[in-house]
Amino acid sequence: MQHRRREYNIVILGAGGVGKSCLTAQFVHNEWIESYDPTIEDSYRKVIDVDGRSCILEILDTAGTEQFTAMREIYMKTGQGFLLVYSITSLNTLTELSDLRDQILRIKEAESVPIVIVGNKSDLEEDRAVHSNRAIHLSEKWGRVPFYETSARKRQNVDEVFLDLCRQMMRADANSGWGSDGYGKEKPPGGKKPPKTSGGRQGRSRFCVIL
């Protein structure tokens, strides 16, 4: 019998116009979307290899437009891992992430859930309005949630954020396999250094122990 591949549901959240769709389309199809095409709800699937294991990723790209927030709750229920995306050109988009995380934790009834903070549009350095320190600060506050700056346009760090999220979900999976009742209870292993941001070359893998 064919070894059954793991399947994970990823949900992309963040304010309108931060580049959620561009990021996802780059990751899944290796394509850069030029046109003005606000998302209402798109789904993608991609099979990837994470540390020698094949995973199926079901990726849900959501509307950033605030008028659609009523749909979020359903997404959060089905999602197992979340990319919280902001744009480095707008501070507001970063501050909005806190509410999203609160809502996720509440709906998941957990103290931690696989999340990656993504600061997109890193190619627009001249328009930068958010210093990476602010995101790092947020990451620390949330218990050292991994943080990357990405450029969907230049395809920098795109694979890395998805891979990082996958590893977190796999680890959560493994932890719950040990008989603890959910990834919520298990704190991430200590000794993790606060993530660094140095442009495009930063996506080093952090924890590889997967049981």
Partner: protein, 809 residues
């Protein structure tokens, strides 16, 4: 002097506005088709509006004809809608807050202080008491401040840009529902739109590229959401969407999924369930490309594509056909987006411009209502899975139409591209047509004079709204920009802003508005740069129309053809002082106009007489329109009230829940002191519960239903026992068609136990309020009692109604 022909041509324009200040805003949609009016003509219509509006407040004579009655009904209705939507806005905020806290409460993770904080959100659900400011001086200063804020929207516009997203909600509440809260008053509506424009154009100035325009969540987008949820926006959504969405959600089993992967998965699942195994050529998971290439999948998808396109076409057709129902304000915003885009990006093609209009009209207004119709009060329940997906697909298709779709995101959507290519021309025309509405700047100037001349401007506002606005102004004052001289004088006088009052001490006040810098207008013709003849003529017309509407229909004076002098004479000889005065004034005006050579008694004042007749004809057809509008607004008001009832019941639920939690934690401290209040049992028949919707499905045969009844007891706060009884049956006997015995039904954490025994029901259900709330929280609407299925929200409502322990917490 006016040429008669010119006067006639303008009077047709003016008459459509002659219904005084409560002219429905939507009717101004027709301005665009009239072509450009001269400034002068627009001022003339304004003068008519002014006279009629003053006469509406004129205590001299009370017009009581049919038109006046229906107009009064309409006016009352509008006032009710305005105040009710404000209440709902506040309630929604509370419910939203509690929604986010209740999960924590359920998990008992909330600290005591926080419980108190939560509790404070219930205080305001009761009506606010009337109150006043500490002294007259304050009343005057604040009255002047809010007049300034209202009539010079630029201050609030700047403020909206400066405040943080966390401050914006309370600011918007004050702005949208209080300062410009009369949703159907043209002056307030126009001032609000002016403010919009100023915030919008600032956003255009600060956004580097058009692709990120109007995308982010900013004060502007929050304003747009709030704005679209006012009365007119709600009516419109109901007209264009409610029927179709309701038809669609009836078809619960209609699956129109066209994503090959999802279709394939379901197919595999069906095969597996039917046969128990999977054929070798049917792997469990495939790639998107493989799924799309699968002939069986294609065969399933093909007819669905046709159906989706048909559905989307009906939605689109209704939207396009109802262009004239679209609220004026929404169309005007579209127009601003178009002109700002053209100004900022002169090279932008029409396609780009349409994309941005669509980015507001579809993305911010229509599509959210299509995708989540429940939160826009279009339907009662959350749609089930298939209709929800169909609605999402339709919204996506409409959005694709408005924007340039990139099928690289979801390749399967490309199959729907015929819908886009077939309708592209149509949609671009529609979006451009949407922008074809007139501006209001000239009438706004006039409306402001009218407002000043009324001298009885009042604002119904709460102390906390006043203080919150004051404190925001204080905080951001330095950044407000130019032309703030008057504002700074008042802020200086007011000193620092008082802190927010506890909810219990908050008061509603009627703040009289005035301006110390602008005095009421005495000489209108000078203020507006129009001739004295114009003013006399309009006043005369207005007086004769009033007289004709007030004189008894049998009076010889109202016989046709109209004899204006006779009408005035008749009125001037009446005992009623009001009529007497109007009659005298009418005679005086006839003479003055004659002396000025505008009219002549040789032709029986024909010019004036004709205009009076025209006005009466217009008012006659106006009655029909007013009644029609009242009917529509009645619907809206009903929806808003239903929504209010829903919000209130939601708050009630939280309230009893919190009460429960608190009395439990109190109970821990002084365990036995607490009295055990047993409430009930209350008895309900099967029929009763069915009627109220508590029973949403029943397996009891029709002929047995009369024998079934339920009792509900609350042994302690927050716990309920629901028992099912069968009349005329000894508990030991097995009921016909109802087999007791020890059965346990699991519904989440609920257990139903049947215990045959003394006086107990056939079936008993121990319910904890927490569990019900949790079920509701999870959108789990069914409570299965084996023989009947209860609807969770309705059960909660019933329990609240019967067992609310309102006083003692």
């Amino acid at each position: 002097m006016l040429a008669p022909s010119a006067r006639n041509s303008t009077s047709s324009t003016s008459s459509s506005f002659a219904t005084s200040s409560f002219t429905p805003v939507t009717r101004q949609n027709t301005i665009g088709s009239d072509g450009p009016r001269s400034v002068r003509a627009s001022k003339r219509y304004s003068v008519t509006a002014l006279y009629l509006s003053m006469s509406a407040h004129d205590k001299d004579i009370e017009i009581e004809d049919e038109l006046a009655k229906v107009q009064k009904t309409l006016r009352d209705l509008k006032a009710k809608i305005s105040s009710q939507s404000k209440k709902n806005f506040v309630l929604e905020k509370d419910v939203r807050y509690l929604d986010s806290r209740i999960a924590l409460l359920i998990q008992n993770r909330m600290a005591l202080e926080e419980q108190n904080e939560v509790a404070s959100h219930f205080d305001e659900s009761s009506e606010l008491q009337e109150g006043t400011f500490p002294n007259d001086q304050k009343t005057q200063q604040y009255g002047n401040l809010f007049f300034l804020l209202q009539s010079e929207p630029r201050h609030i516009a700047s403020l909206c840009r400066l405040v943080s997203m966390s401050e914006i909600d309370s600011l918007l509440q004050t702005v949208m529902f209080t300062i410009y809260g009369n949703q159907y008053e043209s002056r307030e509506e126009h001032l609000l739109l002016t403010m919009f424009q100023s915030v919008l154009s600032a956003q255009f100035d600060t956004t580097p590229e058009y692709s990120s325009l109007l995308r982010a969540n900013t004060p502007v987008s929050r304003m747009m959401t709030t704005y679209t949820r006012r009365g007119p926006g709600q009516s419109y959504l109901k007209v264009v969407l409610a029927k179709q969405i309701n038809n669609l959600i009836e078809l619960k089993e209609l699956n129109l999924e066209i994503n090959p992967l999802k279709v394939y998965e379901r197919m595999v699942k069906n095969v597996e369930e039917d046969t128990g195994t999977l054929p070798a050529n049917m792997p469990r998971s495939v790639s998107a490309e493989e799924a799309a290439a699968n002939p069986q999948v294609q065969a399933i998808i093909e007819p669905r594509l046709t159906m989706l396109m048909e559905l989307a076409n009906t939605f689109l057709a209704t939207i396009i056909d109802n262009i004239n129902e679209t609220p004026y304000g929404i169309r005007w915003i579209c127009k601003q987006i178009r002109s700002l885009t053209r100004r900022k990006y002169p090279d932008a093609k029409d396609q780009v411009v349409c994309t941005l209009i669509g980015g507001f009209f579809f993305l911010r207004f229509l599509n959210p209502a299509i995708v989540t119709p429940r939160s826009y009060m279009l339907i009662d329940n959350v749609p089930s899975e298939h209709p929800r997906r169909t609605l999402t697909l339709i919204a996506k298709m409409l959005q694709n139409l408005a924007n340039k779709p990139s099928y690289s995101k979801e390749p399967y959507m490309a199959k729907l591209s015929p819908f886009v290519s077939n309708n592209k021309v149509r949609i671009n025309k529609f979006l451009n047509d949407l922008c074809e509405v007139g501006d209001f700047y000239e009438s706004l100037e006039m409306d402001n004079y009218v407002a000043l001349s009324k001298k009885d401007l009042e604002l119904n506002i709460t102390l906390n709204e006043v203080y919150a606005t004051h404190s925001l102004l204080e905080k951001h004052y330095k950044e407000l920009g130019r032309d703030t001289e008057h504002l700074s004088i008042i802020l200086e006088e007011l000193g620092s802003a008082p802190p927010q009052l506890p909810r219990k001490e908050n008061r509603a006040i009627n703040l009289p508005l005035f301006s110390r810098w602008e005095s009421a207008i005495d000489d209108i013709s000078a203020a507006l740069d129009i001739t004295q003849e114009d003013v006399y003529f309009m006043e005369a017309k207005s007086i004769f129309v009033q007289l004709l509407r007030t004189l008894p229909p049998m009076s010889p004076a109202v016989r046709r053809p109209l004899n204006l002098r006779k009408i005035a004479d008749t009125a001037a000889t009446m005992k009623d002082m009001g009529m007497f005065r109007k009659g005298m004034r009418g005679l005086e005006l006839l003479n003055q106009l004659k002396d000025l050579g505008v009219i002549t008694d040789l032709d029986n004042y024909q010019i004036l007489q004709e205009e009076v007749e025209q006005e009466l004809v217009h008012l006659g057809s106006l009655k029909e329109k007013v009644m029609e509008e009242s009917k529509k607004l009645d619907e809206v008001y009903k929806t808003i009230r239903d929504h209010n009832a829903y919000l209130v019941s939601q708050l009630e639920t939280y309230k009893s829940y919190l009460h429960n939690v608190r009395s439990q934690s109190e109970g821990k401290q002084r365990s036995k002191q607490q009295k055990q209040h047993v409430l009930g049992p209350y008895k309900f028949t099967h029929q009763q519960l069915e009627k109220e919707g508590v029973i949403q499905k029943s397996n009891v045969p029709d002929n047995r239903r009369a024998n079934i009844f339920f009792t509900i007891t609350s042994p302690s706060p927050g716990t309920f026992v629901i028992s099912l009884h069968y009349k005329g049956l000894h508990p030991q006997d097995p009921g016909p068609d109802i087999t007791p015995g020890c059965l346990t039904i699991k519904v989440h954490k609920l257990t139903v136990v049947t215990l045959p025994g003394r006086n107990r029901g056939l079936l008993e259900l121990d319910l904890k309020l927490d569990d019900l709330l949790e079920m509701q929280q999870n959108n789990h609407d069914e409570l299965d009692l084996e023989y009947v299925q209860f609807n969770v929200p309705k059960v909660l409502a019933l329990l609240n109604k019967r067992f609310a322990r309102k006083k003692n917490w």
